[in-house]
């Protein structure tokens, strides 16, 4: 789960990590008032869940309160399209108005879980403010990595080593270990999958400030982080994806016209690949899960049918825990509820497959049955 920069900075502040003075505004007037409080000049930052906003006008310096009002007003009026969003972009419902920072050096810091090391790693680079993927590609040696033993936590010597690698001196060097250890504590306490500070700056008087803050939270830990769950902003999510998430259905909206209903994430990915290889384009990834009920399958198919770009539906169920008759009943229910006549190619195998096929056959839906993955792909191509 992603959260906004201003929310991340509130969490940072709670851990004593310095962030610029700032104020969230959801109107031009609020942005003007905040800028007045910061002495007449401020940075206006669009609050969106997508990265890459700096390159497309999502971060601007306002030279006066009126300028701030105008800038914020324009940001709030339009969706922001970045290289990480679709062409429709994401809505900007808030801007963060911040005091101007006195920057002498920009650096990069991140904490994430390394799959190979199987432990948290702290990444640090003296090349801050840039796209870190670019830094990793062009000068990987400039990124310092520190693996953290979860039993010990980040040790002070590791923090000092990072400070040294970053070339910090004087007060910034003394402040770094405390900041890094707070950052690690924050990462653990909140079940983060990513904490990124890009840039971390050294100010004119030698202080360290997190000029930007990004936090991604582990969806699987939300059961024990009820307060963090409240930070979710549905407006930033795709409408169909948000609906699916509430129903605990793994769904990703894609560009094509073939609605896909599959059980199991791997088989769902495989189904998309086979569909694409046959020259048809999937409209979505959908894993309805193992122990799905008739209602859950019906909701999943309902989401597919409510997607306006869907022209044909591909069902690929390998019945194990999920029985084919349950899947079939869910499909029929959803088609009736949506009053849909979109062609549906069905490939079913496993538990209660005969019952499943019979239910679909007797339903009168425009069903084409296939036995193998390749036949299913061919049939869905024909249905287009």
């Amino acid at each position: 789960m992603k959260i906004h920069e201003y929310q991340a900075k509130e969490i940072f502040s709670g851990y004593g990590i310095p962030v610029p003075q700032g104020s969230v505004a959801s109107s031009a007037d609020e942005a003007r008032a905040a800028t007045e409080r910061f002495g007449g000049r401020a940075v206006i930052k669009a609050q969106v869940h997508a990265g890459g906003r700096g390159k497309v006008g999502g971060v601007k310096v306002a030279q006066s309160p009126d300028d701030a009002a105008e800038t914020a007003g324009a940001m709030l009026a339009a969706s922001l399209v970045t290289n990480q969003t679709g062409p429709e972009g994401v809505p900007v419902n808030q801007v963060l108005v911040e005091e101007l920072a006195d920057i002498t050096t920009e650096m990069y810091l991140a904490l994430t879980v390394d799959r190979v090391e199987r432990r948290p790693v702290l990444l640090a680079s003296a090349s801050g403010g840039m796209d870190i993927e670019e830094v990793a590609a062009t000068s990987p040696e400039s990124i310092h990595t520190e693996a953290i033993d979860p039993v010990l936590g980040l040790m002070p010597y590791q923090a000092r080593r990072i400070a040294r690698r970053l070339g910090l001196e004087g007060p910034a060097s003394s402040a770094a270990p405390g900041l890094l250890s707070s950052l690690y504590q924050l990462f653990v306490d909140n079940d983060c999958t990513l904490v990124e500070v890009n840039p971390l700056i050294v100010t004119g008087d030698g202080g360290l400030v997190a000029l930007d803050a990004k936090i991604n939270l582990d969806d699987d830990s939300m059961f024990r982080r009820p307060a963090l769950r409240e930070l979710r902003d549905r407006a930033q999510e795709d409408e169909l994806e948000a609906q699916a998430a509430e129903l605990d259905i793994a769904y990703v909206n894609l560009d094509g016209d073939v609605g896909c209903l599959v059980n199991g994430a791997g088989l769902a990915m495989a189904t998309l690949d086979v569909t694409s290889a046959a020259g048809a384009a999937p409209a979505n990834f959908l894993d309805v899960g193992g122990g799905a009920s008739v209602e859950k399958v019906a909701s999943a198919v309902g989401i597919i049918l409510s997607d306006e770009k869907v022209r044909r539906v591909l069902v690929n169920i390998f019945g194990g825990i999920l029985r084919c008759d349950i899947a079939a009943e869910g499909i029929v229910q959803a088609y009736r509820a949506a009053n849909s006549d979109l062609p549906v190619v069905v490939r079913m195998l496993g538990t209660n497959v005969d019952d499943g096929k019979r239910i679909l056959q007797e339903s009168g839906l425009p069903v084409v049955f296939t036995d193998t993955l390749s036949e299913a792909a061919e049939a869905i191509k024909q249905a287009g």
Binding site: R115, V188, D191, A265, L267, M269, D273, S276
Partner: protein, 297 residues
């Protein structure tokens, strides 16, 4: 023979009285697995299916039944505890089926297991099956399997069944099928399973099914190029996934170039593995590979 599980596997099911645990414990027993104990704290003293004793703790279950493998179905908040409880009781092989274990829980578990003589399979995996030994320790549909000499290792559940279905349809039997799990932090990697297949006299060839995310496939490719001597066919799914999106599995998210399906396929090709072009070709590509190597199904 096969790897990891066989006739000598004595299975203890943690969470045996739950909905999923009881359903699958029954299916494992019906297939022929030797389920010797169940564990559910607070439900000790009862019998599951009139035959399997249920204990309050793993410690008691192991002491009473000499269980040597744990199969875990407990809900995500309790999965880390269940794994460590089994490790602590000296259970050498643990398969954790549970999906949705917090990543930082698994970080701590993985750290703890580093110092223990324990192999963890999963979490978020379908488990293991050795059809020749009639030993199923997991949630896969047993009926689609056929005893044979081809090993399968996969990050997925249902896609593994798809692979098995295609192989069995062509008369290609399986020595052992291992689902290593779809999470970012898992107990056993592709390389570790490949090592076991390499040493197993009853495995002639291997099918590997990877997916987008992480770099475990590249590690497997490096091992294949350096040490693996048996024919191996490889599939990587998720070519059509957009970057940054979680495709169901927490581990299947493209971050960085090495995590893409294309990069992983390239690594396997360069390592000399047979590339399975699409998920519809798992059976046919593997059949061709076996023939080219003079191996029977």
């Amino acid at each position: 023979m096969g790897i990891l599980v066989d006739e000598n596997t004595r299975v203890m099911v943690q969470g045996i009285t739950g909905r999923e645990g009881s359903f699958h414990a029954r299916n494992c027993m019906a297939y022929g697995a030797n389920v010797v104990a169940g564990v559910t704290p607070g439900r000790g003293g009862s019998l599951f299916e009139d035959t399997v004793p249920v204990f309050n703790s793993v410690e008691e279950a192991v002491a009473e039944t000499a269980a040597n493998m744990a199969l875990i179905f407990v809900p995500p908040p309790f999965a880390a505890d269940a794994i460590v409880e089994s490790a602590d009781a000296g259970v050498p092989l643990i398969a954790c089926i549970t999906e949705g274990v917090p990543a930082l829980d698994m970080v701590r578990v993985a750290r703890y297991l580093e110092d223990q003589p324990v192999r963890l399979i999963g979490p978020n995996c379908p488990g293991l099956i050795n059809p020749g030994a009639r030993c199923k320790v997991g949630i896969m549909p047993g009926a689609i399997h056929l005893p044979g000499r081809t090993g399968i290792v996969s990050r997925s559940g249902t896609l593994t069944y798809e692979a098995v279905g295609q192989l069995t349809g062509l008369g290609i039997g399986q020595s052992t099928c291992v689902g290593i799990g779809g999470d970012p932090i898992i107990g056993t990697s592709f390389v570790e399973v490949l090592r076991l297949f390499q040493e197993d006299d009853d495995t002639d060839a291997v099918v590997l099914i990877g997916e987008i995310g992480g770099s475990m496939e590249q590690d497997a490719a490096a091992y294949i190029a350096a040490e693996f001597t048996k024919p191996i066919s490889a599939l990587v799914v998720g070519a059509s996934a957009p970057p940054g999106k979680r495709m169901g599995h927490a581990g299947a998210i493209i971050t960085g170039e090495s995590a893409t399906a294309e990069a992983k396929m390239r690594a396997f090709r360069e390592a000399g593995a047979v590339i399975i072009p699409t998920p519809a070709d798992i059976g046919s590509a593997t059949q061709e590979m076996l023939r080219a190597n003079g191996l029977s199904a």
